[in-house]
Symmetry: C2
C-alpha cells in the first residue's frame, strides 16, 4: 500500500462558472499533461473557459468511466465558492470522489462530509499529506531517479520533469513522473504535497514518493523551492536528500534577478547553485550528477540572442542547456543516457 | 504577542511514582538550567527520584506562586500513564496549567480537556506548534544571534546553547536562550518545537523564535539536527536560514563514527561540516562566522589525551575548542567578543 495520496482517474473536470483562464490553470495543466485521465468537463451557465473536452453531466461521466470530479479552478485566495456546494453534492450522490487543491478543506464542510460517507466516496484534499509518514531511512533504493531543482520557486521544475518523463517514455524508457505538488499530484494521479509535510518527515515523505523500482526504471521527481530560497530551502533539502537522485536538472529563468517576492535575495549564480545542490545531494547518493539545465527563454525574443545565451550557458556548465518549450529535452536525455 | 509557545512559571514538577532517573531527564534538565522556575516537586508513593526540591501539594505550590504543573518524566514510548490522570485533574481543579512534552496529547484526553475548560487553565502540549506561523520574510532583524549546530543529532546543541547563555549573562551581556525543542522550551518558558512545524513554515518559525531585539542583545538559539543527517537536514537548514545567525558554534562528539541510528552515514568531517553550515547560513547573513567548537570529550579519560585532542582540533579549525562540561565556554565567549 502506498502512503502517497492516491487519486482515482479518469477525471471529470469541474470548471463551474469560471470566466478566467488563469483561474483554470490546474485544469489546463491536466489536459496538457494527463489527457488520458480527462474524459470531460463540467461547466455551468456563464462559464467561458473551454478545455476542448466534452461537456458531461455527472451521470454521463460515470457511464463513461469517470471516478473523480477534480476541481480545476482556483479562485483568488484558494477558497471554495459556496455556490459550488449543491453541485458537488450531486456529484457525490452520483458516486464521484471529489478532488480539491484549494485552501478550503472539503472535509471541513459538514454537508459534503456526511454525503461522502453516505455514498462511500472520498473527499480528497491534496494539500493535506497522508498520516503515518515515516522518518527517512536513508537506505539506497533500487531504480534510478532524476530530480529537477531550481534557482528559485516557480521556475519550471514541474514542467521540466513532465517534459523529461514524456520524452523518456517516447524513447521507450521505463519511467514515472513523481509528483510533489498539487497540480503535479492531479496529473500523476498520486503523490505527496511535500511542502505541507511536518518538517521532521519531509525526507521520509520524499522516500515514499519514489519507492524502490526495477534497476532500469527512472523516477522523474518534481522538485520544490530552491536551496537559495530564504523560506523554503529546508523543504528543497529534505526533498533532495529523500529523493537520492542519480541525476539533477537545474531549472532557471535569466530574467529573475532576485528570488521571487524576496527583493533582498539575488538569484544565485548558476554554477554556485549547481555545486550546492551536488554537495547536498551527495549525502544520500555520492554518484549524483547534473545532466542539463532547463531555461525559460521566453523573454529573449531574438532567436540568435536566445541561441547565444544558451550556448554560453552550455559552455560554462558543460551541460546541455535547453528551453523545454522551444528546444525539447532530447539533449538532456542524451546526456542522461551518456553514462 | 508572541506566536511561540509560552508557558507560565514557576513550575511544580510532576514526578508521579517514577523510579528511574533516566525517565526524569526533563525534570533534571529543568532543575539544572532553570532552578528559579522550579519551586517544588510532586511525588507519589513509590517514587525514588528526588530532585532536591521541596515536596509540595498542588495547593501548597499555588500558595507559593506556582502557575504550572510540568510533567517531568517521560515513560518509554512517551505515553501518558493513565494512573496519573486523577492527579492531573486535581492539579487542574487547583488552578495549575498542565505542561507536557509527551507523545500522548493532553488535549486528546476528554476529562482533562473539560476540566481545563471549566477551571480556565491551559493544557499545553509542547510537541504541538502554534497555529498561524508565517512564511519566513528573510528580513534582517536587529540584535545579534548565535546558533549551535552539530555534526549529528543529540550531540550537545541544547547544552552548549544553555552554557553559553549562562556564561554571557555572567559577563553582563544582555542575552536570551531561545528554545527550539521540548526540554529547551520548558527551560526557557517559551519557544518553538521546530521539528513539528510544517516544512514550508520552518524558517518562518525560526524567525519567530529570535525576534528583533536591541543591537547589543544576543539570542543564543538551540540548534536541531545536522546538515549531514539523512532525515533531518531540511529542519536544520530551515532553522539555520530563519535564525540568520551572526555566530555559529559547532557541537561534536569524536566517538560518533556515524550518524546516530544511520550506520551507512559516516560522521562528517568537521571542517566540511563547518564550511557547509557557513555556506548555507550566508544566504540570510553573509557575515556569519564560527566562534568555537563544543566537544563531548567524556570518552577520553586521560586528561593529557583529552587536552591533546582539543589542541589539535583548535589548530585545525583556528577556533577555541572546549568541552563545555569540563572546560567551560569562556574561550568561545572571548572569540565571540573578539570582533
Amino acid at each position: 500500500m502506498s502512503l502517497n495520496i492516491t487519486l482515482s482517474p479518469p477525471y471529470l473536470i469541474y470548471l463551474g462558472n469560471t470566466q478566467d483562464k488563469a483561474i483554470a490553470k490546474t485544469a489546463y495543466g491536466l489536459v496538457e499533461w494527463a489527457p488520458e485521465k480527462c474524459i470531460g468537463q463540467f461547466r455551468t451557465s456563464g462559464c467561458t473557459v473551454d478545455l476542448g473536452l466534452p461537456d458531461l453531466t455527472f451521470d454521463q461521466s460515470i457511464a463513461m468511466g469517470a471516478k473523480s470530479l477534480v476541481l480545476g479552478c482556483a479562485p483568488a485566495g484558494g477558497r471554495l465558492d459556496p455556490s459550488w456546494i449543491a453541485q458537488l453534492l450531486q456529484a457525490i450522490e452520483a458516486g464521484l470522489d471529489i478532488v480539491s487543491g484549494l485552501h478550503t478543506r472539503l472535509r471541513d464542510i459538514p454537508v459534503l462530509l456526511s454525503a461522502a460517507e453516505q455514498n462511500n466516496v472520498r473527499l480528497i484534499d491534496i494539500r493535506i499529506p497522508p498520516k503515518d509518514i515515516p522518518i527517512a531511512k536513508g537506505v539506497k533504493r533500487s531504480g534510478k531517479r532524476l530530480l529537477t531543482v531550481g534557482t528559485d520557486c516557480a521556475i519550471g521544475k514541474k514542467y521540466a520533469a513532465l517534459a523529461i518523463t514524456k520524452a523518456l517514455q517516447q524513447r521507450g524508457v521505463l519511467c514515472d513522473f513523481r509528483a510533489t505538488g498539487q497540480t503535479g499530484i492531479m496529473i500523476a494521479g498520486e503523490g505527496m504535497p511535500i511542502d505541507a509535510v511536518i518538517s521532521d518527515f519531509v525526507a521520509g515523505a520524499a522516500e515514499l514518493v519514489s519507492p524502490a523500482s526495477p534497476d532500469d526504471h527512472w523516477d522523474v521527481i518534481e522538485g520544490q523551492g530552491s536551496l537559495f530560497h530564504p523560506a523554503y530551502a529546508g523543504v528543497s533539502l529534505g526533498l533532495l536528500n529523500g529523493s537520492q537522485p542519480d541525476a539533477l536538472v537545474l531549472c532557471h529563468d535569466p530574467t529573475r534577478n532576485h528570488i521571487i517576492s524576496y527583493k533582498d535575495f539575488p538569484a544565485p549564480d548558476i554554477l554556485d547553485c549547481m555545486n550546492r545542490n551536488l554537495a547536498a545531494a551527495s549525502l544520500t547518493n555520492p554518484s549524483v550528477r547534473f545532466v542539463g539545465v532547463c531555461v525559460n527563454t521566453s523573454a529573449i525574443e531574438d532567436e540568435d540572442q536566445r541561441r547565444k545565451y544558451l550556448d554560453q550557458l552550455q559552455d560554462m556548465s558543460g551541460l546541455p542547456c535547453v528551453d523545454p518549450l522551444k528546444d525539447g529535452v532530447e539533449a538532456i536525455l542524451d546526456e542522461l543516457e551518456n553514462q
